[in-house]
C-alpha cells in the first residue's frame, strides 16, 4: 500500500484529480490510498504528492502561504515524486504577472505571463483567451512520465497565463498558442504540467499512471 496526498489549500475542485488518480490506480492494480488534505503530517508521510491549483494566483498564493504549503512542497520535492498541475505549476515559479503581480514560491526559476489581448495565430487570426481546449504537447526531452505517450499528443488546457523560463534544461514539454509556451517542467523529483492530465482522457490517464509508478528523478 502506498499513499498519495493531493494538497488541498481550499482553491477549487480537487475531486477531479483525486477521482482520476483512484481510477488509474485501480486499472494498474496498485494499492494506493489517496488523501485530499492540507494536513502537514499526512503530506509529509505520503509517498507521492500532487500539488494542484485552479483560479487566480493571488488567492492561491495567499492560501498557500497561510497554510505553509510552500514548505511542504519544497520538502517533498527533495525526497519524493511531486506532480504539480496548472496553477500548481505556476505557483512553483518565481513571479506571476497575474493580479497586478504576485510573488510565487521560487522553487523553479521562471515567470508567469499573460497571453495578452492581441494574441494571434500564424495566419493572423485573433486567438481567444483563456487558452481553453486540447492542444499538442511536444516532448522536448525524454522523461518517465512521458512513457508510452506519443509525441505531440493532445492534452486539455485552460489558462490565461503561461510559464516562461530561461532554463531550457528544465522544460519537458512545449506547446504553441500564439507563442511558444512551457507545457511541462521536470526538475528532479518534480514534474509539472500546465495542462490537466486528469481531464485529458487516455494520454492524461497514462501520465497519471506513469506518475504512480515513478520513483523520482529522471
Amino acid at each position: 500500500m502506498s499513499t498519495l496526498a493531493v494538497i488541498d489549500y481550499g482553491m477549487g475542485n480537487l475531486h477531479s484529480v483525486a477521482k482520476a488518480v483512484e481510477h488509474v490506480a485501480r486499472e494498474l492494480s496498485l494499492e494506493t490510498e489517496v488523501a485530499v488534505t492540507a494536513d502537514a503530517r499526512t503530506i509529509a508521510r505520503a509517498d507521492r504528492v500532487i500539488f494542484p491549483g485552479v483560479g487566480a494566483i493571488r488567492d492561491c498564493m495567499a492560501e498557500i502561504n497561510r497554510l505553509n504549503v510552500g514548505e511542504m512542497v519544497a520538502e517533498a520535492m527533495q525526497t519524493r515524486p511531486v506532480l504539480a498541475i496548472c496553477v500548481g505549476m505556476q505557483a512553483l515559479m518565481e513571479y506571476s504577472g497575474e493580479n497586478g503581480g504576485v510573488d510565487c514560491l521560487g522553487l523553479v526559476p521562471g515567470q508567469v505571463r499573460y497571453f495578452g489581448e492581441e494574441l494571434r495565430d500564424a495566419a493572423g487570426a485573433r486567438l481567444k483567451v483563456p487558452h481553453m481546449g486540447w492542444n499538442e504537447v511536444r516532448q522536448t526531452r525524454a522523461h518517465p512520465l512521458w512513457e508510452g505517450i506519443p509525441d505531440d499528443s493532445r492534452f486539455y488546457f485552460v489558462h490565461s497565463y503561461y510559464v516562461e523560463t530561461d532554463r531550457d534544461d528544465l522544460v519537458a514539454g512545449a506547446s504553441r498558442y500564439g507563442k511558444e509556451m512551457v507545457a511541462a517542467i521536470a526538475a528532479r523529483n518534480i514534474f509539472a504540467t500546465q495542462f490537466h492530465p486528469e481531464k485529458s482522457q487516455k494520454a492524461g490517464l497514462r501520465l497519471l499512471g506513469n506518475f504512480l509508478l515513478w520513483s523520482g528523478e529522471a
Binding site: 475542485n13 487558452h131 486540447w134 492542444n135
Partner: protein
C-alpha cells in the same frame, strides 16, 4: 498545428434520464446519462455538457448523484447547467465532480452573481449560457436574450449581454439560438459570428445541428471555438468520430 476546435455533446437530463426536447417541448428518452457520457468519451468527445431540466426539488439530488457517477468514469471536462442560482449550487456541482457550471437565468436576474461566482471559483469554471432569439432581421439583425427555457424575453441585446458577462468574469459563452434549437436546420451563424467577434473568451455554438455540415459551418462561418449538439449523437445518427472526421476534411483542426 495548435489548439483544436471542440465538439461537445450535450445531455439534457430530466430526473436522471437523457431526454431531448424539440423546441423544448416534445421530449424523447435517450438513455442513461452515465452510459451515454462514457460512449461519447470513448468516441472522442472533447467535453461533455450536462443540462439538468428537472423541475422538482427531489430531482436535484438525483442530478448531483448522476454528475458524481459521470465524473468518476469520464476523464474529460464536464460542464453542468440548469438551475444554477447560488454559490452553494456551484459548490455542490463542483464537489460532485463538475469542472464548470453554466449559469443562465440567474445571470439575467442578478448579473453581479456571475462576478461573485467568478471571483470565488475562478473564471475557468464559469460558463454563461445565453439563449438568444432574433428580433430584427435584414442587413443589421438584432438578437435578444430569453430566459426560462426560452419562454420569456428579457429585453436585453444579446451581443451587449455577452460582452458584459465576459467583463463580469465569464470564462466561456454557451450561445444557443432559440430560433434554431431543435429544428435541425443548422446554427444561426450570423449570431455566432457577431458574438464571437465581440468577446475575447471562447464561444460554444448551440441549437439547430441536424447534419455534420452544420458543425463545420459553425466554425467556418460562425467563427466559434466549440460546437455543441445533442440529438444527432443521442439517436446514433452520427458518432463523434464521424463528426470530427468530417470537420477535419473541411480543414478544421480537431483532436482525432
Amino acid at each position: 498545428m495548435g489548439l483544436a476546435r471542440r465538439i461537445i455533446p450535450c445531455l439534457d437530463c430530466d430526473n436522471g434520464r437523457v431526454v431531448k426536447g424539440v423546441r423544448f417541448v416534445d421530449i424523447r428518452d435517450a438513455g442513461d446519462p452515465v452510459e451515454v457520457s462514457k460512449r461519447y468519451c470513448d468516441e472522442g468527445a472533447d467535453e461533455v455538457t450536462f443540462l439538468d431540466i428537472t423541475a422538482s426539488h427531489e430531482g436535484r439530488a438525483t442530478t448531483v448523484e448522476t454528475v458524481g457517477d459521470i465524473a468518476a468514469q469520464v476523464f474529460i471536462p464536464l460542464t453542468v447547467g440548469g438551475g444554477i442560482r447560488t454559490l452553494e449550487d456551484i459548490r455542490m456541482m463542483l464537489n460532485a465532480g463538475a469542472d464548470k457550471v453554466a449559469i443562465n437565468t440567474a445571470a439575467v436576474f442578478d448579473p453581479p452573481f456571475v462576478r461573485t461566482a467568478a471571483e470565488r471559483f475562478g473564471s475557468q469554471c464559469i460558463v454563461v449560457a445565453v439563449d438568444a432569439k432574433q428580433t430584427t432581421g435584414g442587413a443589421e439583425p438584432k438578437w435578444e436574450i430569453f430566459t426560462h427555457g426560452g419562454r420569456k424575453p428579457a429585453g436585453i441585446d444579446a451581443i451587449e449581454w455577452c460582452a458584459r458577462m465576459v467583463d463580469y468574469g465569464a470564462g466561456e459563452i454557451l450561445l444557443t439560438s432559440m430560433d434554431r434549437d431543435g429544428t435541425k436546420e443548422g446554427f444561426d451563424n450570423r449570431l455566432n459570428r457577431a458574438v464571437s467577434g465581440a468577446v475575447r473568451v471562447p464561444v460554444i455554438a448551440s441549437g439547430g445541428v441536424g447534419a455534420l455540415e452544420h458543425l463545420a459551418a459553425g466554425v467556418l462561418e460562425g467563427g466559434v471555438d466549440a460546437v455543441l449538439a445533442a440529438s444527432i449523437f443521442h439517436f446514433r445518427e452520427f458518432t463523434i468520430r464521424q463528426a470530427k472526421e468530417h470537420m477535419a476534411d473541411c480543414g478544421i483542426e480537431v483532436r482525432l
